[in-house]
């Protein structure tokens, strides 16, 4: 596709349920980022991949959060045993690579934990 695609757009999970959020980056983009955006706030960094290597996961809030990008393209963010405070929009972004290249964002997945 022409842009970064995320699915599902909306996800409602019962507390304690596991969820998986998918990101399809722009073809050929080396770098992939996950951000978490709470209501009324700016996005906050979660983790970063360069190809299949996860180079920075310092933003993951707990060990319930896990991300992977096994073939250096599609990425999945998994949240285990979801809690109410996990409710947020999860944004994926990709870039050609390097720190001075434009990052393109997907529309996000809105997760609501009830």
């Amino acid at each position: 596709g022409a842009g970064v695609s995320q699915s599902p757009r909306y996800k409602v999970a019962k507390r304690g349920q596991d969820v998986a959020l998918r990101c399809d980056p722009i073809s050929g983009h080396v770098s992939l980022f996950w951000y978490q955006q709470a209501l009324g706030q700016g996005p906050e960094f979660l983790t970063y991949f360069q190809n299949e290597a996860q180079l920075d996961k310092s933003g993951l809030p707990s060990d319930r959060f896990f991300a992977e990008r096994p073939e250096g393209s599609v990425s999945t963010l998994k949240i285990q045993r979801t809690q109410q405070e996990d409710s947020a929009v999860y944004l994926c972004a990709s870039s050609l690579g390097g720190g001075l290249t434009e990052a393109f964002f997907g529309q996000g997945t809105r997760l609501t934990v009830v």
Binding site: Y35, G42, A103
Partner: protein
């Protein structure tokens, strides 16, 4: 229900006027700065960027100014249009990774 988030600063301008949105960044080591526009239900959209070796950069109807001395960034929008209504975020980054640190955000409301 949903929790109440922080109230973002709001700038209200008349259509056709110029808008100036300000941002303070935190990390002296940041060398790349970007302004994003975010409309409701959408992801952030790139507007304009500037590297730390510059203090001004112009795009179409937009200008970004960087003052490294006081760690301040501003976005100027000329002849503001109703379609410019959105939340605007500044972001800082270092050339090492591209990891973005976003500012608080400002809501721009354009009155017709």
């Amino acid at each position: 229900g949903e929790s109440v988030g922080l109230h973002l600063p709001t700038l209200s301008v008349q259509e056709g006027d110029n808008s100036i949105i300000n941002c303070a960044y935190s990390n002296s080591a940041s060398d790349y700065f970007i302004w994003y526009k975010q409309e409701s239900g959408k992801g952030p959209q790139f507007i304009i960027d500037i590297r730390s070796n510059m203090d001004k950069r112009q795009g179409q109807r937009v200008t970004v100014l960087l003052n490294k001395t006081v760690k301040h960034l501003s976005l100027q929008i000329a002849a503001t249009q109703p379609g410019d209504s959105a939340v605007y975020f500044c972001a800082e980054s270092s050339s090492n990774t591209g990891k973005l640190i976003f500012g608080q955000g400002t809501t721009l409301q354009v009155k017709p």
